[in-house]
Symmetry: C2
Subunit: 788 residues, 2 copies
């Protein structure tokens, strides 16, 4: 805990406190003086001013409207017909996304249910014949084979498809374009790998991968195939920009959740609350349409399956744990146990995040050692899981079947509440009913009503602990692994255990406790509110529980927020994705933008020598450069605008050069069309190294004026960082120009990029604020973090 | 229909078309030349530049962070403790809002159910005794009395509380502060008036008023009482700004819907989708908390009522039309009738909006003639309504009670599916079951399952037509009237009628058709998607209908959007509230900000003469003024920042003047605290007319520097209007400074305010774009609009 300070406004002379979280006036003034000195020195030595560092290999996205002579006529000529084309195409694309994601979601489920089903049927039959060793060997080897296949294709074909994918998509929607996350290769590996990983009884889910699959499909569909299909090209031309692609990916992620949980409204809200960083009401409508298509596709396909044409799929797949009971009634005395469950759920959830974070750090070290290490890790987790799943049920004693059971007991075959396992006829093994099943069926068993006496205390505790740790150790392996379903299972076991402890002191049955337990662990780990609430409602089809679920989610989120962050944010930080938060840190109000722009600023003149352009592009990795007009071409130095690296590369490639640095007619523009400057597809960007120029060409000039964005957003250098961040984040910028307060020799003093707003970057520049970082009431767990 | 144009990108020389929606290059250039000329002329004559007109008496809100010497130290000294105070208070305020709105929502319902209940019981008893004339007189006179009381208090005490209030709150959240909409007086009148209006059998709802009540409570609670309570003052000091007040009002509006429909999640989504213009994820969490409190309060109070301690409230009030039926199954052949229903629903919904708009225009003329005219209008609508409600059931023939009715038939007393009315024992009047009831009970009857044979075709058609027109004519009277519930009733009747036509060709029962009909009419009139979907789900407690409801909402919204706009947007436009849309119109990309800033720009110097300040404040109504430093004080003219009218008034009031225009020490600031510059409470703003200054004082100077916002957001004059609008709207600005491209004599060329972005204003300035306004594929209904 950092020291806190209470110099209210009343005290005119605040005490100077070295450790305080807040800088005091004199100290700050002195500090800023030093900074200004440093800056002016760097000004005089390098003869150019200050710029933010953008050294990250990860591309940023740009949602700014670029206004130059190439794009402007494009809008003007965009008449009625093109507007209709655009609108029509956007809806068609959403429809396609919904359709494909719905189909894929269904077939993924079908595949999982059938592969896992066959495995369980074979093993169960062997168990019935009391061939226990053979059963274990079949079980473990099929699991190992599936895991091995999933990790092999992931490691060798598309390493980007490892893990859940939600953090990457979330970062993309924030404006960070990690390489190859939306490639076709990634999509295929994600689908196949996810089916194998889930079927292999690893404690991993398919919701996260489904979100990634949905986003992939959206990105690929929006891109409109390859250049081969000239027909689609023209219609999709208008989508070749970051804004429209972002909208489609948002719809895709909503469709992913809708397909994974058959929760269309929950999917929209998930995309809104967790995934997206910018939101417009038209996007709400469009993602709603997409998930409606998903819901209809699923509904139609399930109709087919209900006729029994889907093999082992039957009534099983596509989670819908119907807990409807006509008369749920709860009263005041039911509230205290629920509150306790919520508080503990929050603590368990934050502990989950903490442990998962630590385990991922360890895995990172292992994974860096090479592909073989990754494969070995995945295989050992699989073998370990098989041993636990097959071994632990032996610790439970056989229980006699209840005489009034609503279904056959013991269940012979795959799913059902009463697994026979090793027990004699008329008895069932309660742990096997949970372990020796798919996660979906385990959740169904835990959520079921009228089964309060089915499970033993100790079985539930063992199941909870095993799920908790297995899901933490399974997430980081090199395979497509989700975390949503494991958290639901673990939470359901936790809630049911609490329900057992409360016993007859509550009117709620254990199935409802399991639902609330899932809600509390989800809230404690994922930290969402509305979307989780709606997803749980859509999963359980019971609206009467709503007030209790709302309380549980709010409490568990609040409790967990006191310890650490959202699980996806932690993973994003581990992956080094520069996520830009919507809120500002308190110290950002104490710094001006002038305090963070650093390093040499590369500027171009309106007429720039080709060799200069090539040199700058080769020596820096900046993506935007201010263009200045100086005295021979203007009365005083004028900031003409901002030019993008991608556009410079296009210019160099086309060799539209001039012999002299003078104004020319507009012929130069005519040779370009908007398509030349459109956002390039994935991996199709030009590189400066690929452009070859003769020495003669190097001595020529380029007229940058027509290609420069003449109205970039600017802020004055005295603006606080917090205020600039609001502009940067709300408008979705990639570059923000800093102009001087007093118009002097240079009309621009620097460029702010995403990295200049990263807390880590700012705190490195200004370590004096490090202490104030712990501004939130957040209890760090020193003992625990040292233990792990 | 406007002329459309197809000059694709391919054609290098587009044909010149005078009527085209799109301006062509040469024409535009010539036009812009003229504009520039006009501007430079106005520059030379008035010696000052151009500014947007802000002549609207309605205040705008300002979400910009003001960075001046007064506010800056305030943030710096805002240490840990104040941050905790702030966070804690925000949650406490949300809790209070939820608690109060929940209680009010419950008691409003209780009052309506009891007042209307007593009325119906007395009338029904008279009908039983066959005293029909006396029954009508009691019915009509009690309705008239209630309506008269509601309209009297509305007209004389708080005219702002007339109507639904949703448009005003929506405009407030967009940044338009209509006078007195959140005053305590408005709140009280809204509560009492709404109870009376709804009890008086007018076809009006209580959801809209509930949203306004919730927002009022939020605004009042956030303001922290009056200056008398010094204790709360300090803690609430941090909330005296537009941003925090906006957040609280958003939570309040969510709580309003949550209380009206017992739909907590729907309330959050309603606030998100329909009400708010700016949204942050923390707001989602906070409004979720607020509605959770509402849900819990309602749940607890209903528990009390279920014990029968709430008079006639019983199981009636607080809408929850439980249509759960275990086995809803629908197949492909059920889809075509649903699609038909959705398309027709969209048309009927847009027709509803069109007619309501016309009727409101006529009412506006009547209402302007004086208060007595308003009262007479309200009373005549009440009498007319009573006649219809009592008279129309006589047209229906008595129907024999079904032998297998699930409830007593005919119903003796207030609610129930089978009203006796004039019929002999063993018979019921189906029209009376709908008309002679509260709206809530009518909806319940229409939504009920297993009642397919209960209503006759003609009865349903009469009920639909009557509701449709009555709700249109009732909305505009001078009383708190909502529109949500009337649309649900009308839609339910419409859906049930369609269901009757479809008959046995569908598996869906008529109750489900009624639900879908409500959805289609809501979608066609209010044009929401996710929020309506969740509200309907929460009302009907049936998730299996979800895919159908989603299709219906999407189709009806799409169809209706082709004809006209959202009902609330139409009402806002009628009220002249300058609502700033999130999307940009195509012509905004063809105009630069320089093209819209007009009129003389009032600027101040860093050291300004008091008499100048007073003169400018008296002669203009501008709310922000650029502050310029000129050569004696700086090397070249420098834009120092922007000062607000409110802050100038505070300065003049405190008389912190200087004898000479020179730099002084910072003593002047010390005498001010942040509270002096905090946003004033409702109606507590200073006026320039109230400030008296001696002649000597008028000759002195004010040092504006410490009070000027030194880092206002700026845009360059060549930026397109569309791009500036994105900044203005996304960041929530009140003033946007326009700076010149080339730094010249004046460092600022104008100020953009909300009005400069209003399409009407822009089209007045540039009539050449008027034709292009009909850019959307929107069919205007010329015949219809002429008929009405």
């Amino acid at each position: 805990m950092s020291a806190s300070l209470s110099n209210g406004l009343a005290s005119p002379e605040p005490a100077v406190d070295e450790e305080s979280a807040v800088l005091h006036e004199p100290l700050l003034a002195q500090y800023q003086q030093t900074l200004r000195l440093r800056r002016s020195q760097s000004n005089t030595t390098s003869q150019v001013a200050i710029v933010g560092s953008n050294v990250c290999p990860i591309e940023s996205l740009d949602y700014e409207i670029i206004e130059n002579d190439i794009f402007k006529p494009d809008w003007r000529s965009m008449g009625m017909i093109e507007l209709y084309q655009y609108t029509f195409m956007k809806w068609i694309l959403c429809f396609l996304i919904g359709l494909i994601v719905g189909l894929l979601g269904f077939f993924t489920n079908l595949a999982v249910e059938n592969i896992a089903g066959v495995k369980f049927v074979i093993t169960s039959n062997m168990m019935l014949a009391r061939k226990f060793v053979a059963a274990f060997l079949v079980f473990a080897s099929s699991n190992l084979g599936l895991t091995l296949f999933a990790s092999l294709i992931t490691a060798f074909v598309a390493p980007e498809s490892a893990g859940s994918g939600i953090p990457e998509v979330k970062a993309y929607l924030n404006g960070v374009d990690a390489p190859a996350i939306f490639s076709f290769r990634t999509l295929i590996v994600k689908i196949v790998g996810s089916i194998c990983a889930v079927s292999s009884s690893l404690n991993v889910g398919k919701a996260g991968p489904m979100v990634h699959i949905g986003s992939c499909i959206a990105a690929i569909v929006g891109q409109g195939g390859s250049k081969k299909f000239r027909l689609t090209w023209k219609w999709l031309r208008l989508f070749k920009n970051d804004r429209d692609r972002r909208d489609l990916v948002t719809c895709g992620s909503a469709a992913g959740i809708a397909a994974a949980f058959r929760a269309p409204v929950g999917g929209v809200l998930f995309a809104l609350e967790e995934m997206s960083s910018w939101w417009r009401s038209s996007l709400l409508w469009r993602s709603f349409f997409t998930t409606a298509v998903v819901a209809i596709v699923l509904r139609a396909l399930i109709d087919v399956c209900l006729r029994g044409e889907c093999g082992l799929f039957g009534k099983g797949g596509l989670i819908m744990y119907d807990v409807t009971s006509a008369n749920i009634s709860y009263h005041l005395r039911d509230v205290p146990p629920v509150l306790l469950l919520a508080v503990l759920g929050g603590i368990v959830g934050s502990l989950y995040n903490l442990l998962l974070n630590k385990v991922l750090q360890i895995y990172n070290v292992i994974n860096k050692k090479g592909i073989s290490f990754r494969i070995i890790l995945a295989c050992s987790i699989s073998i370990f899981t098989s041993c636990l799943l097959f071994g632990l049920p032996w610790t439970a004693s056989c229980r006699a079947c209840p005489s009034d059971a609503s279904e056959p007991c013991p269940t012979i075959g795959r799913s059902g509440n009463y697994k026979k396992f090793q027990c004699p006829p008329g008895f069932y093994n309660d742990l096997a009913s949970l372990f020796f099943n798919t996660n979906d069926d385990a959740i169904k068993n835990l959520f079921s009503k009228n089964s309060d006496a089915e499970f033993h205390h100790s079985s539930m505790l063992i199941f909870f602990a095993t799920c908790f740790f297995l899901s933490i150790f399974s997430y980081g392996i090199v395979a497509p692994t989700g975390i949503f379903v494991p958290v639901i299972v673990t939470g359901a076991a936790y809630g049911r255990f609490i329900g057992m402890l409360v016993g007859s002191n509550s009117n709620l049955n254990h199935g409802l406790f399991a639902v609330l337990g899932s809600a509390s662990l989800l809230g404690g780990s994922m930290r969402m509110t509305v979307s989780l609430c709606v997803i749980i409602l859509e999963l359980t089809n019971n609206l009467l529980l709503l007030p209790l679920i709302m309380i549980v989610l709010l409490i568990s989120k609040t409790v967990a927020d006191a310890f650490n962050g959202n699980i996806y944010d932690l993973i994003m930080a581990l992956k080094g994705l520069p996520y830009l938060e919507a809120h500002t840190e308190p110290y950002m109000r104490q710094l001006t933008v002038g305090d963070v722009v650093m390093g040499p600023l590369q500027i171009f003149h309106g007429f720039e020598k080709v060799s200069n352009v090539v040199h700058v592009l080769k020596t820096t990795r900046h993506n935007g450069f201010p263009v200045i007009d100086e005295p021979p071409n203007s009365v005083s130095p004028v900031l003409f605008g901002l030019i993008l690296r991608a556009h410079l590369l296009t210019l160099l490639k086309s060799k539209a050069f001039l012999r002299t640095p003078t104004q020319v007619d507009r012929d130069a523009i005519v040779q370009f069309s908007v398509e030349d400057f459109g956002k390039k597809g994935l991996g199709h960007g030009d590189k400066i190294e690929d452009i070859e120029l003769s020495e003669e060409e190097m001595e020529m000039y380029i007229d940058l004026h027509p290609f420069t964005n003449t109205s970039p957003y600017t802020v004055v250098e005295t603006m606080s960082l917090a205020k600039a961040l609001i502009l940067f984040r709300q408008v979705g910028l990639r570059h923000l120009l800093v102009i001087p307060k007093v118009s002097g020799r240079v009309p621009v003093v620097g460029i702010l990029t995403r990295h200049d707003f990263m807390p880590q970057h700012i705190l490195n520049l200004h370590p004096i604020f490090v202490e104030s970082r712990w501004k939130k009431l957040r209890f760090r767990l020193p003992q625990l973090s040292k233990l792990v």
